[in-house]
């Protein structure tokens, strides 16, 4: 049975702090000085610790911390039938492989269901699994087959749709699609959202679309305003949109006053690009300002993005502050 959620549920975006020793181990694996089996054991230990940290902090919707993912591209392309990945093309785990698509993508599972089972085994809380979206993958993969980025993205949407359904079969109830490249290519939005709708078609889960300004190496890849998303995003067949506000300020919250948004909103209240830990009071203030434009029953509280570039101690304290600040506001609301 899926655990119920309180008002203003808290969640993470996906990734949790990556220990430096695990980074070294990943590099050792790439240099063939460590076996896959040993590395997977390390991954699992770190995933369990990440779940535990989130539970202790009091996060309502947890992830497995994604320690097993080198980055948000390779984890998917390595598993995607039809993508040719040059496994000798990187020495540092966080870099991207050279990956190329020469033929139409085959339909096949990526094996992410294992993550759903892992979370079901090691956490009693509601959990979430994220997938990189079609637009993001299009921007990173070398396309030698499809006639356009749009055609490529739509076919990726088809393949990822199969995977989302596999995840639901394995018990996943919360799925997230990550699209950090929208903000750099706003002109792509019409076809990028078509690909999202292809990806979520018939998937029986709560689906979040996370759109940030990038968090590669803990820094933004783009700057600007979320205004470009509107009104196009209103047609996305999703249940929740997740945006970053902590680092960028809350100016764009006004967009939710201007437009009648048909889904709930996850607001970033924790800046993941600084090691300075927010106070619970500061978090509460941010939530209160969001409540001025978004009703409580449609608001979810998250960090701006993944916590992968933060030291574990900082990441944990930030989650604790987020949870405590949220509880303060819940009490004020009498819920």
């Amino acid at each position: 049975m899926t655990p119920s959620l309180p008002t203003l549920p808290t969640s993470v975006i996906g990734s949790y702090s990556m220990p430096e020793w695990l980074e070294r181990a990943k590099n050792e694996y790439l240099s063939r000085r460590l076996s896959r089996r040993d590395l997977d054991e390390m991954h699992d230990a770190v995933r369990k610790a990440a779940i535990k940290d989130q539970e202790v902090a009091g996060v309502d919707i947890v992830s497995d911390g994604e320690a097993q993912r080198d980055n948000m591209i390779d984890y998917f392309t390595e598993r995607m039938p039809g993508v040719q990945v040059d496994l000798g093309s990187k020495r540092f785990y966080y870099d991207f492989y050279d990956s190329v698509v020469r033929t139409k993508l085959a339909t096949g599972t990526l094996g992410l269901a294992e993550e759903a089972r892992f979370l079901g085994t090691f956490s009693g809380r509601r959990s979430k699994i994220s997938l990189s979206g079609p637009h993001t993958l299009v921007k990173r993969l070398r396309n030698l087959h499809y006639e356009s980025e749009e055609a490529f993205a739509l076919d990726l949407g088809r393949v990822l749709n199969v995977e989302m359904k596999e995840l639901v079969r394995a018990g996943a109830t919360e799925l997230q699609i990550d699209e950090p490249y929208y903000s750099g290519f706003p002109e792509d939005l019409p076809w990028a959202l078509k690909a999202i709708n292809a990806m979520v078609e018939g998937v029986d889960a709560t689906i979040t679309l996370h759109i940030c300004y990038g968090n590669r190496y803990g820094k933004p890849s783009f700057e600007g305003s979320y205004r470009y998303l509107f009104p196009a995003i209103l047609d996305a067949k999703i249940q929740r949109v997740s945006l970053e506000f902590a680092r960028r300020g809350e100016e764009d919250l006004q967009l939710f006053k201007e437009f009648n948004v048909p889904f709930s909103v996850a607001i970033g209240v924790i800046d993941v690009k600084t090691q300075e830990v927010e106070s619970p009071g500061f978090v509460a203030d941010r939530i209160r300002r969001a409540l001025e434009v978004i009703p409580a029953e449609r608001l979810v509280v998250t960090p701006d993005c993944g916590l992968v570039r933060l030291p574990e101690e900082v990441a944990f304290r930030k989650l604790c502050a987020m949870v405590e600040g949220t509880r303060t506001v819940r009490q004020e609301l009498g819920r």
């Binding site: 706003p186 590669r216 190496y217 820094k219 783009f222 600007g224 690009k273």
Partner: protein
């Protein structure tokens, strides 16, 4: 000169000063030091010490081939060899020691350096020349007109691209760290304004150029130099080691950062690998015993007065020691006499103080794996710290350019001694570019080095960053 060193050593063996059985294991380093004036006497002995500072048997003699005098070389070598023997007289040269052994990063040269930049005007008035004239090339590469013009053109192209994509921020922020006399910032802004007008764009109207420096004198001069740009330029007192501290509100907003000859003037450590073991170079500041008597006679002091006078100078400036020009003259003469004795202290496996901010010990070890054996190299911790604390200011499409003297590959340290050198009142040392490359990679930037093509024969190169994908 190298042949003379060998010949002199053979003579010392024949004279019985040097035990022939020791000769094969005696380590002699011959260095050609770029800077004619530096902190070493022509022939020095470096002893080794345990991590706790206890003496170890290994020692080496280092000869500065540029300073060494053929007439006195044999005597200098003999003195060095004798000082290695049991029962050698401690401080035979009657140096006046000002400090204990400590790593370069913590030694007195940095207090002298700070004093110089704080009282730059006094020093220049006494020397009769601006500090740029004291640079090895007699001029700063910062102000080369073509270099400035090309820099502006590159930046303008970036702005135009962003504008075409509708991604140009409302305010365009530029930053110069270490402003010198402001000539470069002024030339850059003049050129930027002219290009903007020529191309019919409106970038200049959105431009805000920050001039950052910790020297009040430099900042004041620089602001005068850019006065005609009014509110488009402003000064920010900042420590080059941590620009982010003073400019936190500009996080991810600065489109262009430029530095010239700042990193070569920031604290560093020197590491040495000998026979597979890693040592940190520690230094002890002293006043050369042979020159001290002249100094004391000139200023009517005793030898015993000198350590206190040095402390007064460093604490309160030149006028706290003597009033008027005499205080500055004392400072200048003292700087001539100021030297550093070196020793090699073995590093403890758990010691991490030498690891620069922006890197972990593991990263430093990765870097050491690239270094040749039996090599001495810089851990440019000040440059690394400054770099790591500047990168978070950069806009996602922004870039950083540094004109300086870089050792871009660890292997290049095998090709010579890279400083520190003594400048007129301050110091300079080459910067470990390979280390900055590692710091950049951790922060998501690729670091590149290109020759500075505008002045033939210059040792300056240009570091620039690109986003690491």
């Amino acid at each position: 000169m190298a042949g003379l060193v060998t010949g002199s050593l053979m003579s010392l063996v024949e004279d019985g000063v040097l035990d022939a059985r020791l000769a094969p294991s005696l380590r002699i380093h011959l260095d050609w030091i770029q800077y004619k004036t530096n902190f070493r006497d022509p022939v020095i002995v470096r002893r080794t010490a345990s991590p706790q500072g206890q003496a170890l048997p290994l020692a080496e003699i280092a000869v500065d081939l540029r300073q060494a005098d053929a007439a006195t070389l044999q005597a200098d070598l003999a003195r060095a060899v004798r000082s290695l023997g049991e029962g050698a007289e401690a401080n035979a040269d009657q140096h006046i020691y000002l400090d204990d052994f400590r790593p370069y990063r913590d030694c007195l040269i940095w207090r002298f350096n700070r004093l110089f930049w704080q009282h730059l005007g006094d020093w220049e008035a006494a020397s009769g020349q601006g500090f740029e004239a004291a640079l090895p090339g007699g001029t700063s590469d910062a102000n080369h007109p073509q270099a400035v013009s090309d820099s502006v053109a590159d930046f303008w192209t970036l702005l135009r691209d962003l504008d075409n994509r509708g991604q140009l921020p409302p305010e365009i922020v530029g930053l110069e760290i270490g402003v010198g006399n402001g000539a470069r910032a002024a030339a850059w802004l003049d050129r930027f304004k002219a290009l903007d007008e020529q191309c019919g764009t409106t970038f200049y109207s959105r431009m805000h150029f920050l001039l950052g420096d910790y020297s009040p004198t430099s900042l004041e001069r620089a602001l005068e130099a850019v006065a005609q740009h009014g509110s488009h330029a402003s000064g920010v007192p900042l420590d080059a080691l941590n620009p982010f501290k003073a400019l936190a509100s500009y996080r991810f907003k600065v489109m262009y950062v430029h530095l010239t000859n700042v990193y070569d003037n920031l604290p560093f450590d020197d590491l040495v690998r000998r026979d597979g073991k890693l040592y940190i170079v520690e230094v002890r500041a002293y006043l050369n015993g042979l020159k001290v008597d002249q100094l004391t006679a000139e200023f009517g002091m005793s030898r015993g007065d000198l350590p206190g006078a040095v402390e007064t100078l460093l604490e309160g400036g030149p006028y706290a020691v003597f009033p008027g020009e005499k205080g500055v003259a004392f400072w200048r003469r003292l700087w001539d006499t100021f030297k550093l004795e070196e020793r090699l202290r073995a590093l403890d496996d758990r010691e991490e103080d030498h690891v620069p901010p922006g890197l972990s010990r593991n990263h430093l070890e990765d870097l050491l794996d690239e270094a040749p054996d039996d090599v001495r190299f810089h851990v440019s911790r000040g440059a690394g710290e400054s770099f790591a604390n500047t990168l978070p200011l950069l806009h996602p499409r922004g870039f950083l350019q540094v004109q300086d003297i870089f050792v871009s590959e660890m292997d290049d340290y095998r090709k010579g001694f890279r400083g520190p050198g003594k400048l007129d009142g301050s110091l300079v040392t080459w910067v470990n570019g390979a280390l900055l490359r590692a710091v950049g990679a951790r922060a998501g930037y690729d670091v590149h080095f290109a020759p500075f093509p505008y002045r033939p024969g210059t040792k300056t190169s240009v570091l620039y960053t690109t986003q690491r994908d």
